[in-house]
């Protein structure tokens, strides 16, 4: 048993247990923190697979930016365990059963899939030099289109999130 296998199992246990923590914890802030831990475990997997660029992007964009956005909104809305809406026991059980059935179905279909040892396939395509060459050569149009997507998302977020115009109703309230 070499060091790679040990690290793989440690990161896997961390990812799965923290993912369970996300859906089981009552306090939404705890859920966000568990999700950050899950993302850190996934980042560890990327490092193990020598995908260094994606590892650092995952850490900065997902665990850094997106999760801080979630935490920020949770704290802005002042949500905690007391106001957390809970589904009935029956609906929760139905959710667990349907998720478990999906797990079983896909497990049965991939049971006979070909196994390839990851050690033999160690290579350097995850480095930023090779990825950048492919990105700006083959995928340059999707790259540019994604910048338009970002611009439209930014405008959309501002338009949706801004304060609405003062209506007659709120004028009465203010005065």
């Amino acid at each position: 048993m070499d060091i790679n296998t040990i690290v793989f199992w440690m990161l896997s246990v961390m990812a799965v247990s923290c993912a369970l923590g996300v859906i089981l914890s009552r306090n939404p802030v705890n859920s966000v923190l568990f999700l950050i831990l899950t993302f850190i475990a996934v980042t560890g997997h990327y490092v193990m697979m020598n995908a260094q660029f994606l590892a650092i992007v995952n850490l900065i964009v997902y665990a850094g930016a997106i999760m801080v956005l979630f935490l920020f909104v949770l704290m802005l809305l002042n949500l905690n365990a007391d106001v957390e809406p809970q589904k009935g026991q029956l609906v929760q059980l139905a959710g667990i059963i349907s998720g478990g059935v999906l797990l079983l179905v896909i497990l049965a279909s991939i049971r006979t899939s070909q196994t390839v040892n990851m050690e033999k396939s160690r290579n350097s395509i995850g480095l930023i030099k090779d990825l950048g060459r492919v990105l700006f050569d083959k995928y340059v149009l999707p790259f540019e289109i994604s910048s338009v997507l970002f611009l439209s998302a930014m405008i959309g977020a501002v338009v949706i999130g801004r304060k609405e115009h003062i209506t007659e109703d709120s004028k009465v309230n203010q005065s």
């Binding site: 997997h45 979630f70 809305l77 991939i110 396939s121 395509i125 439209s152 949706i160």
Partner: protein, 102 residues
């Protein structure tokens, strides 16, 4: 314990995806459901990176990069929608949003 192979990554990613599905079905808080969707996206990303290493192809890693781009844009708009919803109904409970049913 056997050395790590591709099936291990397949099972791990499947497990994370199923946990995301269960969370989406179980919870009523709109933000938690959103986070479970992020969890599912990450499970798929993990599998794509593992298979890009196996097949020596950089394309899958670039697809992961584009998935992250779209997820970031989606989170910005989605959280704005949730904040607007909270301003209107003072709750993030998705069961309040059933007016189409009545």
């Amino acid at each position: 314990m056997p050395p790590v192979n591709s099936t291990h990554y397949l099972f791990l990613s499947l497990l994370l995806f199923s946990i995301g599905i269960m969370g989406t079905l179980m919870r009523r808080n709109a933000i938690i459901i959103f986070m479970c969707i992020e969890l599912m996206l990450n499970a798929v990303n993990l599998l794509m990176v593992a298979y890009s290493q196996l097949f020596h192809s950089a394309d899958a890693q670039l697809f992961v990069f584009f998935i992250m781009v779209v997820a970031a844009a989606e989170v910005a708009v989605g959280l704005a929608v949730i904040v607007m919803m909270y301003r209107k109904v003072h709750s993030v409970d998705i069961n309040i949003l059933n007016r189409l049913k009545h």
